[in-house]
Symmetry: C3
Subunit: 344 residues, 3 copies
């Protein structure tokens, strides 16, 4: 058969390398659709003039948009037979990406573990995105629950569970060489800088957003992420939930966009240390987000980094910041990541 059935658990081997197909040139159209589907207000990404004052050649694309573009490349090879996206770790944002750049992706299998149910296994993968000059723009670990072709334990199979980084070290952060003195509250919309945030401080980002099927489908197709659960109501009506499941990455985008209301000066995501989609979301759900500042560190005299935990919920605007190990059912995302912010 010529159609693409993707791989099952048995088809992966540790150290396998996969070159993902369909490189993608990122355009102004992608940036506008990212805005239209998220409502982001992070100033750096949408003003050519402001970005130039800071020393960029033009406005870099949103870090999470880049994540989706790399992730979208990997889907046919990794996600089509996945039952669940179990987590992310060690996500590092490297060289900034601009409109006109072309992104490609490759992955390496770094671990495999059979599950005792005999039907599934866990695949651990490291994915790397590069630009047209071969420079790394993104790398991350991800693990997925994958279907087996046949039920049963594989004879003489050796589980290999890799030791994934709990944290990306701040020495690994890519801090762009910017003239941060030109950063202005008037432009970003916030007067809160590195010194204004307290460790342990919690922020309710307020702006709930209700998602429609057309919106998440448009966004997910834009990234050429063609995992079937997001698009096919004819199949999903008889599935686990009776409806299409929203691409988890879309919720990351919404949470980051919503978090601008309270974190508007956090101009770059440098790392995502861990990410969990703790519950699925569907058309009609309203997404809210809260953040907590976990740690702070100076990168240099003018730029600091903050370790942030952002929680997104659905249909719940009144939330206590939850215990990390007791995630309420209507929590849909638990993200721990590091951002850059000017020191003033």
């Amino acid at each position: 058969m010529k159609n693409f059935k993707s791989r099952f658990f048995e088809d992966y081997k540790v150290n396998d390398e996969i070159h993902h197909s369909v490189p993608r040139t990122i355009t102004d159209g992608d940036v506008s659709l990212y805005l239209a589907t998220t409502g982001s207000r992070f100033a750096l990404n949408y003003s050519k003039e402001f970005s130039r004052k800071l020393g960029f050649k033009k406005n870099p694309i949103d870090d999470i948009l880049l994540f989706h573009m790399v992730f979208g490349r990997t889907v046919p090879d990794l996600s089509l037979n996945a039952i669940a996206n179990l987590g992310y770790a060690g996500v590092k944002f490297k060289k900034p990406v601009f409109v006109g750049d072309t992104v490609t992706a490759k992955s390496k299998i770094v671990g495999l573990k059979e599950n005792s149910n005999e039907k599934t296994g866990t695949v651990y993968v490291e994915s790397v995105g590069t630009n047209q000059n071969g420079e790394v723009v993104l790398s991350y670990y991800r693990w997925l629950m994958m279907r087996k072709k046949e039920k049963g334990m594989i004879s003489s199979f050796k589980n290999l569970v890799p030791k994934l980084p709990e944290r990306v070290k701040s020495s690994e952060f890519h801090c762009p060489n910017v003239r941060i003195d030109h950063w202005l509250s008037e432009i970003s919309g916030s007067s809160f800088y590195f010194n204004d945030y307290q460790i342990g401080e919690e922020i309710h980002h307020l702006d709930g957003q209700t998602i429609e099927d057309a919106e998440h489908q448009l966004a997910t197709r834009l990234y050429q992420n063609n995992a079937r659960v997001h698009f096919n109501q004819h199949v999903e009506k008889d599935g686990r939930f009776g409806k299409r499941i929203i691409y988890g990455g879309y919720i990351i985008s919404l949470a980051r966009a919503i978090s601008c209301n309270g974190l508007a000066n956090t101009f770059k995501v440098v790392a995502i240390h861990s990410g969990k989609h703790s519950s699925p979301t569907f058309s009609g759900d309203t997404i809210y987000a809260w953040s907590k500042v976990l740690e702070k560190e100076k990168i240099n005299n003018k730029i600091g980094t903050m370790l942030i935990r952002t929680i997104a919920s659905k249909n719940n605007s009144q939330m206590k910041f939850p215990d990390e190990n007791k995630l309420d059912e209507n929590i849909v995302l638990d993200l721990v990541y590091s951002v850059l912010i000017p020191i003033k």
Copy 2:
């Protein structure tokens, strides 16, 4: 708290100036999404070749798209605690804007009036949009009903109701320096020019458009207008109408796009003299539009201006042009504006 609660009535002072954040570089992506959400067919805005023949460096963006881009800048500072957008006056479109330009906005409080209900007041504001060279591209007056923080009349408060212009004078119109001899009916799709329209003439624009939640949300986010009533069904289900309210500006765009069928040679909006959102619109509503020619005047030998009143209705395709002071419930927009049209 770090999140942005915006201002209440008590937070505004007459003569206050507000520099709105998040300048916006306008791109080809924005223009395509404007097309995709409105269906406009005004030839000047979508053909680089035709625009160049007329003397533009490339196709200028639609005037109403510019309006949204400027308006979107002002929302966090002006609209978040507004209960209603009461009206517009003196809207002047100045320098044309092109893809690649970056738009910023500032506002000045020009009037304040307490309401006798002790809970709200009216804020009168003048907003100005500029391009990256500091040239004015748009200016307008707007007044809003704003919530107070605390109930009660403010002691020794002096109401100031400004005298807003009833009309932008035609001497203030920005008429671009174009080679209008190159305007062609074959290209615009209409053979009706300045001399073909009669004062008092009414036009039914015919093409009803049904709006989906995904559509108005995409458009409104594209403009980075983040007023909460447009996006949050979780809150709005318990609100005044039980559903998300469509951004009034989206209806202006639809009405202008629909009016192309009958006004295709009116190539530029130079002023909006008054605008009223007489009734809210919701997902599922179908918008129709009618226009009436109120006045005509020659700008020079080759270009004239017409004063137009355009009415938009929801779910009503059979309408008598209404008396200005008796707006039927299903009328959703009443707009009086001036356009340029070739004289042939």
Copy 3:
């Protein structure tokens, strides 16, 4: 009246030429929206780098996107009073089109036939799209069932049913001058080339896509196709189906995009020999697609052409390839076309 009522059957004369209005400059925004509304993964159209390696100046736009852009020009003059789009023939894709090109269209009436019901007639038309240099980029025949203004047979009317081409000859195919040695499976995502396909082979393309009203409306407006049945629920609720009918061309786009899963190396559509929208589609329908290889021919030593029949269904994922003359009710598209594919 100034509004545009379009033409009725009586308004067309054989050999009439119509210059369609509103030329359209194609932008990166259009390409992104095409991706967002179809999810295409044909590598050539989305990577500037890959396209350049093959010898193009940059990535050409998707052939079916070009079709919609030309078709959209013709709608006000041809489709507004059409009851049904009866078919396409002789669709030839000529010069490739790139972002920045401006497309115009003209049509010639090549046949007219009255129907015995006295209310309608068939209009046969040849449409031609050209770029800003006057080069032909697309031409096709189409026939439509058109309303008459008045019931009755027209006195002394002579029916003229033109002989339309059953096939575009392969000698007429536009084969771009590419360095096809640079075509890579790693990039396209498929290792199946000309020699791997067998005549008679059937391919189930698997990836069903559910359509929302917002999605087809956005796509159709992007092409400035303003045929009313696609947009006006207020009228359509009382119409034949009680709902908005999806633009048939959107289904062609979906079928082609879905067919990438099995035909990823068919890098260009050179001709559509016949196309039938055998049943209408509506919001909520899930589209599936199947293809059959009907013929194969070498263009030169490195590029071959395949004649493909692609069938799309709604809400039916289990299908036997149907007899050409017994199309099941849930078949919505029957397309016979020719593609180019590398020989390796």
